[in-house]
């Protein structure tokens, strides 16, 4: 397998700008100290971004660092460091890759290990995790890291939402969950105040929360431009353009980025410029984090006329009016409502279609809105939280919606050892053939 994969030829210029964005994020952790700022290890989609930003804490994301190492196909050395510490190779490889890096950096007395992709991340002043339904590592990883950074304080908050139960109306439980989430966010504020020695500026938080709301709306409006045929942007790009909304939420640069992206997409739509020269099949990326070391597989899809106008992954936002959030003057309560309503957004639809699941309803919605012919899932062996349950989603989808072509690819997010390019391409080819057969039948 070629060591230095040629990067995916990006369809949008905006996606091309992301590398600098990510480098910038990592660099900002390294120069935080001289700017007298605190650095916190933190994790994506925890609803905590705005508080961290409002407290002027510089977030450092292991998910981002590990993703970069994977994309450079240079993660193995960190994975082995962690393995030598007795972390199983079956654990979340975002975590083990980053912990391997932490262990190494400690061995070097705080120096960044040689040849660390993009300069690595700074030693944190605190670790802010989150316990929730979204994933276990985000409340186990912090203390696993603390084992090597013993002086670094750890906070783990809790962000829950009502579980899906076809026989229960989650609305009855919303208030309970919102109160709990808001209380937990308050705990986070106290932790940040304690370890930064600053008081929360509530007006500033309110402005940042408002900025986030506007970013969510802009992000979704921009992404919905991808409904155009041919689609101006593909999931391959989205795995890049998700960076601002995922890692820089609550910042002006994130908002401005989507202004830029939106303009570019509008331009491309006018010029009828699509992702693929000859767009034949439109497919939903139904679930799963990508194999960061094999993003060029999206190119492989595109070369065969297959495009992904929409994906579930990293689209953790929705037009706010669709969530119709109750009015509140408490920014924390607002975040909590946004959180609960987003994660339960497809419950109603699922209730209306017997035998369905919220996750499946979301896919169906995308299939129809973006007029797609099939669904591709990716199952990463080291990550249960996003990838267990995909088999059922595919089955339920076929049962409640119809026998449309689906493909479940298997691999990992960071660990390349189970990836086989030839085999993956063979599965993609076969999937394209089924899309073809499906079209022939349905026309």
């Amino acid at each position: 397998m070629a060591e230095d994969k040629k990067p995916r030829t990006l369809a949008t210029e905006s996606a091309g700008k992301i590398a600098k964005f990510v480098r910038g994020n990592m660099a900002s952790t390294l120069k935080a100290r001289e700017e007298g700022k605190k650095v916190a290890y933190t994790y994506i989609n925890d609803g905590q971004d705005e508080i961290i930003r409002a407290m002027d804490i510089v977030p450092a994301y292991g998910e981002s660092f590990a993703g970069v190492c994977a994309a450079k196909r240079d993660a193995e050395k960190y994975l082995q460091k962690a393995e030598a510490e007795n972390f199983s190779r079956s654990l979340c490889t975002y975590a083990t890759c980053t912990i391997g890096f932490d262990v190494w950096r400690e061995e070097l007395g705080g120096q960044i290990p040689p040849e660390t992709p993009w300069g690595g991340m700074a030693r944190p002043d605190m670790i802010i995790g989150s316990a929730q339904q979204l994933c276990d590592p985000r409340f186990k990883w912090p203390q696993a890291t603390q084992h090597y950074l013993q002086d670094v304080p750890v906070f783990v908050g809790s962000m829950y939402y009502p579980p899906w139960d076809p026989n229960m109306d989650h609305k009855d439980q919303e208030k309970l969950y919102v109160k709990y989430a808001a209380d937990e966010l308050r705990e986070l504020v106290l932790f940040c105040e304690k370890h930064t020695g600053k008081k929360m500026d509530w007006d500033r938080l309110a402005t940042i929360v408002d900025l986030t709301d506007r970013t969510w709306d802009l992000f979704i409006e921009t992404y919905e431009l991808r409904r155009a045929i041919p689609t101006p942007m593909d999931t391959g790009d989205a795995m890049n353009t998700m960076v601002p909304v995922t890692f820089n939420l609550g910042t002006q640069e994130a908002y401005d980025y989507y202004v830029m992206l939106q303009e570019e997409l509008k331009r491309k739509i006018e010029q009828k410029k699509g992702v693929a020269e000859n767009e034949k099949y439109r497919v939903v990326w139904g679930a799963g984090l990508p194999s960061w070391f094999a993003l060029s597989d999206f190119q492989y899809f595109n070369d065969k006329g297959v495009v992904f106008p929409v994906e579930v992954t990293y689209r953790n936002a929705e037009k706010l009016d669709r969530l119709d959030l109750p009015k509140t003057n408490d920014p924390l309560e607002h975040i909590a409502w946004r959180w609960v309503r987003f994660w339960t957004h497809w419950y109603e639809k699922a209730r209306r279609r017997p035998g369905s699941l919220p996750k499946v309803e979301r896919i169906i919605e995308y299939l129809e809105d973006y007029n797609c012919d099939g669904v591709v899932f990716h199952s990463a062996f080291s990550c249960r939280s996003w990838h267990a349950g995909i088999v059922q989603q595919a089955q339920v989808l076929k049962k409640v919606y119809g026998d449309i072509p689906t493909l479940i690819m298997e691999g990992d997010i960071v660990d390349i050892s189970s990836y086989n390019e030839i085999d993956t391409h063979n599965r993609i080819d076969a999937f394209v053939e089924t899309l073809e057969a499906h079209k022939k039948r349905t026309n």
């Binding site: 065969k304 026998d403 189970s418 039948r441």
Partner: protein, 270 residues
Amino acid sequence: MAYALGIDVGSGYSKAVICEDKAIRSYAIAPSGGNYQETARNVAEEVLKKINLTLEDICFTLATGYGAAMVPFANSTATDISCHAAGIHLVFPSVRTLIDIGAQFSKVIRLDDAGRTLSFLLNEKCAGGSGKFLQVIARILHMGIDEIGPRSLASSNPVQFTTGCAVFAESEAVSRIAEGACAEDILAGIHKAMASKIVNLVTRIGLVGACAVTGGGAKDVGLVKTIESELNIEVLTPHDPQITAALGAALLALRMVSLNGGDKESEKRI
């Protein structure tokens, strides 16, 4: 009348079939070895020689299988999945569910009444349920792959294999043997383990219409019988299951010819 050549370069064996108007004129099988290009050329020469043809007499050559890209004289390629579908459709038109047991992968394919792939599943990124299983066990039992089936059928109480992986199964087999289990029961156990993996794929894709088994694994009566009892239906196996994909490739080649009058420089993929 137009001759079409289908070549299936698998990770285990390479197969070639020459068709003339949906009829098999000749076929050949050879181990793939380490040099696909050479193997492809040899197996092609062999299949041509059998009916005194040369490559010039072939109007279209379509390559498939693991080493499809390594066949320099192919006009086009297709995946072994659609080739299996096309191939089995000629042999058994009633088949809607196809199980292919190859050296590295087992596949389950749903096809429509025209022999097109509706959907497919491959075993996970682990050789569990693939022909590799059988090779490994045959090796440690010091017996030929073709002895396996009959011996397995003679088993009275199959050893229970709890692992999915071919290599782990090996160590498990070795320790069972050490505990005094006989070859028959080991083989029957392996067959059960493989069958359950394959049947899971069938369950996931949904068993529809007649069901056939192809690929090297289909030559193992023990495995086929076990699959039948797990699914409790009778499955069809073609006379020479190994050449199904090559046959399909030849048929798809013929389709290409009829589509574009045999223009060899036509679109490289079907």
